[in-house]
Symmetry: C2
Subunit: 138 residues, 2 copies
């Protein structure tokens, strides 16, 4: 097996006043066919500001940067420091025009590289089934 894999950005996040726009690069526009039949997408992006060897070696954090939250392994958080800087957000599609997808909101900086888009098909599990520690609900 290869000991590393290569990710190529497929687009970029453009933050606007209230909404956010995902610009898909021309090379990938054919991959959007049919996306307009879905209400929601899962956007994967790259925490590019943390792409340094030292930050990628951080394995434990105080969640949400709050010292009152217990030291936690990054796999038990959504921290933006982690070995592979993959982020994802589920977003509601507001419009798709050519290679621009406008969404309700996305928790990412302007100009963040987008690495994948997936149609959102099902929430999978119900809220009642999900157990989380106290700090998540504070």
């Amino acid at each position: 097996m290869k000991d590393s894999f290569q990710i190529f950005p497929v687009g970029i996040i453009i933050k606007q006043n209230e909404n956010s726009v995902i610009k898909i690069y021309d090379k990938y526009i054919d991959a959007l066919l049919g996306l307009d039949q879905f209400s929601h997408i899962q956007v994967s992006y790259w925490f590019h500001k943390n792409d340094t060897p030292s930050k990628r070696n951080i394995l434990r954090v105080h969640p949400r940067g709050k010292e009152s939250n217990p030291i936690t392994g990054v796999f038990a958080t959504h921290s933006s420091v982690r070995p592979n800087l993959i982020a994802f957000s589920t977003c509601k599609i507001l419009s798709i025009e050519e290679n621009f997808i406008k969404v309700d909101t996305i928790d990412a900086f302007d100009e963040t590289p987008v690495i994948d888009i997936k149609a959102y098909i099902s929430p999978g599990y119900s809220k009642e089934e999900i157990i989380t520690p106290d700090w998540v609900r504070r």
Copy 2:
């Protein structure tokens, strides 16, 4: 901005008879602290069998490999061919022992490289809000 990013596997999927086990490599074991307080995880993995330039250039498919499903852009599917070979599954944790996470089920081949683990916090949207095309529900 960099024109590509590097992913390092953090573990591997081991398929068993009924369940699946995620083995986290020793180097990353500290990142698991606190994960046992969650019921579910989102596992990101890499469709390593499709990591060739020609497969990564496929932008449209018949979803689920069925010719009766309309030709669709890969961003509107969960296809295992896509520009960046990122997959994710939400799984229920059955047990965590040292660096082995046993989960209910995961739709991946044996020995698939794992690239990230995130605690699953919320389904985000309710089933009633999600709109999908007919082929998803067939």
